[in-house]
């Protein structure tokens, strides 16, 4: 008999493919590491990671939908929305 119960968080193993038109690109040299992008991301797919002792954002492009909120809210204006190459 089939068992359709899934283990917690196991559905993230199934990638749904992208549907972005624009892809956020972060200029890490100009980034001040404030973490606004990470907090504003509706998909929760930006994580702040330590890089050379400083916090820098890392975007998970498997889940980023390209909404552009991070680019709009970035106080340092270091996130650019670029046309996605498919």
């Amino acid at each position: 008999m089939i068992n359709l119960a899934a283990k917690p968080a196991s559905t993230t193993k199934n990638k749904t493919g992208g549907w972005r038109t624009f892809k956020p690109k972060t200029d890490l040299d100009r980034c001040v590491g404030c973490g606004v992008c990470s907090r504003i991301c509706p998909e929760g797919c930006i994580k702040m990671q330590s890089k050379n002792g400083k916090l820098k954002p890392k975007t998970d492009y498997n889940y980023c939908k390209g909404c552009g909120l991070c680019a709009t809210e970035c106080p340092a204006k270091c996130i650019k929305m670029e046309l996605e190459n498919k």
């Binding site: 008999m1 089939i2 068992n3 359709l4 119960a5 899934a6 283990k7 559905t11 199934n14 749904t16």
Partner: protein
């Protein structure tokens, strides 16, 4: 103990004795008496279930879906527009393989507004993946509800018991309802497998998405399990008769076949067979009796094939009955508008293109007759007219509005 009960009362008492943990429903004519009786049993302290009031049928179906996902026995009932408002949830319940049991007190669908009986509501959601029973009388309704839980829990497929609105829900008949201890002999307490239901101590997710890599196999699996459920329905029906034989619809004088899927009533070599579902079969049986009385067993032989289980569709069982018959009249209370009767479509599918007993192509004529829409009375005169009309060359769908 034999009692004189309203159909709805008999069902409510049966459900209480089955001991569900959660009941949720939204009232709609002609289902109302069932859920009213269940609410009263709870209010009077005669029941142990949680009775959750809902703000719509969509909510009621969602509440029982959620409760069932936690691994307990649940129940709901509805009719007509209510069933159609549940549609999305019905597909989810079947897709999530939740053993929900639902009573549909069959009623026509608006517009024009009607509160009276036909089968259009249930026929519209026949593709949702549910097992669908149709009861002929009160005792069969009691029997099918108990069977419904046994089969739903054995197959992890939800079951809908269809009973004709007013004709069964609001009429009084002698009926026997088994007690809790009697039911328990056939239907033990529900114990789902650990790790397959929502439980905080063993966290799992139910109803997750399936990407194109998985979806199709899961649907195929449901289809195959539904088809295989035919055997389980027949086995469980035999067990039911053995354990609760006193609470079964008894075979009548001309009943030739009676199992969990179909019943055939009439002479063995009938020239004409009428196929029907639900309470209408009782009327047809009277006409069959009359024909036998008037013409003897050698004249114009007529039999009636009752479909008890519409989903899964018992194609093989039906073929055995109708394969040597010259005329097959499908008499039903629903229409697939712009096409033909939904049951007639199935019967035509069963009989087409297969070779008969002597290796010849089958020559049965199958015609669709639509009767009783929106509560129109179905008289013996109409049935006799159908028996005559099916011998005509024309095989288009016919609405029988009057005698």
């Amino acid at each position: 103990m034999r009692q004189i009960l309203e159909g709805s009362q008999a069902i409510a008492q049966t459900i209480n004795n089955i001991k569900p943990a959660v009941i949720s429903a939204y009232p709609i004519t002609p289902q109302t008496h069932i859920v009213e009786d269940l609410a009263k049993l709870k209010a009077d302290g005669k029941a142990n279930y949680e009775y959750i009031r809902a703000e719509s049928e969509f909510a009621a179906a969602s509440i029982v879906a959620g409760a069932s996902a936690t691994g307990v026995r649940v129940y709901t009932a509805t009719s007509s527009q209510g069933l159609l408002l549940m549609t999305e949830v019905l597909f989810n319940i079947a897709g999530m393989r939740l053993p929900v049991v639902l009573t549909c007190a069959n009623r026509g669908v608006s517009a024009p507004i009607t509160i009276w009986n036909d089968h259009q509501d249930a026929m519209t959601i026949r593709d949702a993946g549910w097992i669908m029973f149709y009861a002929e009388n009160h005792q069969e309704a009691v029997e099918q509800h108990i069977l419904a839980y046994k089969i739903a829990e054995a197959t992890k497929i939800p079951v809908m018991v269809n009973i004709d609105g007013f004709v069964l829900t609001h009429t009084y008949e002698p009926v026997k309802v088994p007690s809790r201890s009697q039911i328990k002999k056939f239907l033990p307490d529900y114990k789902p497998k650990k790790g397959q239901y929502l439980d905080p101590s063993r966290p799992v997710s139910l109803g997750t998405f399936a990407s194109p890599d998985y979806y199709m196999e899961i649907r195929e699996n449901l289809h195959k399990d539904l088809e295989q459920a035919q055997n389980i329905i027949n086995e469980e029906y035999k067990k039911y008769r053995k354990i609760l034989g006193d609470f079964t619809k008894k075979n009548e004088k001309m009943t030739q076949i009676n199992n969990g899927l179909i019943e055939y009533y009439g002479p063995r070599d009938a020239q004409t067979i009428l196929v029907a579902m639900g309470s209408l079969v009782g009327t047809i049986k009277d006409v069959v009796d009359e024909q036998v009385k008037n013409t003897g067993l050698f004249g114009n032989k007529v039999g009636v094939l009752k479909i008890k289980t519409f989903r899964p569709f018992p194609a093989k069982e039906i073929l055995k009955v109708v394969e040597k018959t010259k005329y097959v009249a499908v008499v039903e209370k629903a229409i697939s508008l712009g096409s033909t009767g939904p049951l007639a479509l199935e019967i035509k599918n069963v009989t087409q293109g297969k070779t008969g007993p002597f290796g010849k192509l089958r020559t049965s004529k199958v015609q669709s007759f639509i009767v009783g829409l929106g509560g129109r009375d179905i008289t013996s005169g109409m049935i006799k007219k159908i028996i005559k009309d099916v011998k005509n060359k024309d095989d288009s769908v016919k609405f029988i509005c009057k005698e």
